[in-house]
Symmetry: C2
Subunit: 396 residues, 2 copies
């Protein structure tokens, strides 16, 4: 009896060439090197490399300007200006959140991204509108991508009355995690913010993902307070720090101590490579047992004019900053943009193995290091066995 | 009488849409918005943006591994190991310098690069072989790209006897500039190296481009010594510092003083965005009157597994580090990867203007900021009026 789909003439990450991958009811049921079995649909990959779906662990789907004509940046060059300008610009855009988020999700999928963690702004000016737009886009694309949503208090919690209650509403409305932001630098009340968001998370049995841009010792203090609450609430494995620039701005002995603390508390880190800020020591964190994964952060949005949604390009940029030059290190980096991220997002089944969902993509490259370094156009993208993109464009 | 070529339905950087560009004997002879004139060849750009040829101001064409199967990185994770490993690996590669350099030049051209400054290793183990390979590739591609070559003493000058004499030979053999490298950190004799290379440069009436990776005050010392020699030799406008990481590692007042010194000495800076090192303050340098331009540096070579030869992607990476978010700043950044680089390389005629060579490319974008942020595939590339690449692939 023929399989649903068989991919033939595939190159696998372990170097095997001319392999086939048999897919049945959305799952990989066989991988082999001999004659491909019959199938309802046979796709010749022409020697392309096959890799498992990518994970974008940090996005802002609600802020993107994709779908609109070119929209020049409107804020002053500092974070609080971008926060304030968003309140004016986002609700007035001629294309709504669901539509813009959908445009970006489709681009992510076309680049081979299979799972996304996105933040959605929660602030009184917006109510739950941004969250609802993102949840609508999530639902509309559920056949092509898994989207996890963080209720993100972009403007702070304590400094904007009503935000904590709105975060609570957001969790009831379907957000997957509670967010937070710079409890000292933005919110001026670390105890207030962290007590509030951990209480909300515990009440709903959900995790936490906090934006921590705070530099050096300020950020390290906030990080320690986060880890303390994780232990107090028994939330090991459910809390992520986004960015954690502070870890790149303190002495090496302080970095090691912080890494050990995070590992002990089961707190993960997601990075986009830190841009102009200090980058956490990714190798030191991993060696200590901290789960590190990656994300694109801003993709052509109200905060940044750049960003392509391509996690392989993101890996190349991060590699350029950390200089992991050897093949084994590049394999580690690939894990950080794929399987490690999937695990951090709580998606258990990831990989090109029999029994796993056929969620994968192909591209003209010989090896994983080349796939990262050159990040050529993705030829074919499958999600649970269904073709969702071809030649860099959404088709689902 | 019809023109050689007319490009129609073009979007120009100033926002005009539906424009035509008339080309005759390799030069732009007219740009207009009304009915396009007749031509031997008419190419409909379908609304694509037209931009002037890009400049890659810092490459190592001799080190690239393009043209070969995947070649894993072979050195230990420090600079001297890469220098020593190159001596073993480069001469033993199954594809020669001219062939590999040619592969990379063609990729640069396909990304819209029209002018390149490359370094070519000069060390006794190689003699002039690497230089000759690069010069051969330069000649073979002269119809599609301008290539300027720096005789680069990768392993040092004073620490490797015979190198100074070889640099002199290299200038006679056709190198365009004399190179140098970290006169303290690598060569352990700043006076020795700098006296030697400036003497060679003066003897041949050529400029200098020195790799300066040295951090903080060490690098600032070397930078001061370079500027002093520029003034002493009257070589204002002929000397470039490559990288200049030190400028990002000293106090702001020291940065400003160094910028003023460089501007006074007419010393330019070329950057690839600094990777994991400290980035010079590009805005401060420009405000002081220093010419700043950009380059890709390593592109899939014996030093780095990453690098795509795309100067628009390079601009996006640099933008991500410096966060020039507004449209005017992105226009400045575009100049740094195109016209400013051309001027630094001594190529006077650059731009989309009547009278200039028709050296340009097209891509699906509305504006320069979008072209940088998204860096989509280049649709058409012309060099002096000749089509040299289409849809991201060399055709010349």
């Amino acid at each position: 009896m023929p399989y649903d789909t068989v991919l033939t003439n595939a190159r696998l990450a372990d170097g095997r060439a001319g392999a086939f991958i048999a897919i049945e009811v959305g799952r990989i049921v066989g991988i082999g090197a001999d004659t491909p079995p019959p199938a309802a649909t046979t796709i010749d990959l022409a020697g392309d490399l096959v890799l498992p779906g990518l994970t974008d662990g940090h996005m802002h789907l609600d802020k993107t300007l994709f779908g609109l004509p070119w929209w020049p940046h409107a804020a002053e060059p500092y974070r609080m200006s971008r926060i304030e300008t968003d309140a004016r610009v986002l609700p007035a855009l001629p294309l709504g959140t669901a539509e813009r988020a959908g445009e970006l999700i489709r681009r992510c999928v076309a680049h081979g991204t299979a799972q996304i963690r996105t933040h959605a702004d929660i602030r009184p000016e917006f109510g739950l509108a941004a969250l609802e737009g993102v949840l609508a886009a999530k639902a509309a694309h559920a056949h092509a991508c898994t989207v996890q949503v963080v209720a993100f208090p972009q403007a702070g919690v304590m400094r904007v009355p009503g935000t904590a209650a709105l975060l609570d509403d957001a969790m009831r409305a379907g957000a997957d995690l509670v967010g937070g932001i710079d409890p000292c630098e933005i919110d001026r009340d670390p105890k207030g913010q962290l007590d509030a968001i951990f209480a909300i998370a515990e009440r709903h049995g959900k995790g936490v993902d906090i934006h921590l841009h705070e530099p050096a010792e300020m950020g390290l203090f906030s990080l320690q307070e986060i880890c303390a609450r994780v232990r107090a609430h028994g939330m090991q494995g459910q809390v992520t720090i986004s960015h954690g620039f502070c870890l790149g701005g303190v002495a090496e002995s302080r970095q090691k101590a912080a890494a050990a603390m995070m590992a002990d508390a089961g707190v993960s880190l997601v990075t986009h490579g830190a841009g102009g800020a200090t980058l956490p020591p990714l190798g030191v964190l991993r060696e200590a047992g901290v789960q590190v994964f990656c994300g694109n952060d801003d993709v052509r949005d109200t905060w940044s004019p750049y960003g392509t949604a391509d996690m392989l390009e993101r890996a190349a940029i991060i590699d350029w900053r950390i200089d992991w030059r050897t093949d084994p290190l590049l394999h580690d980096l690939f894990d950080m943009v794929s399987g490690d991220g999937a695990r951090a997002l709580g998606i258990p089944e990831h990989g090109i193995d029999a029994g796993k969902p056929a969620t994968l993509f192909t591209l003209p490259a010989e090896t994983i290091p080349e796939a990262i370094g050159q990040h050529p156009r993705r030829r074919l993208v499958l999600f649970a066995g269904r073709v969702v993109a071809r030649d860099g464009a959404w088709v689902a």
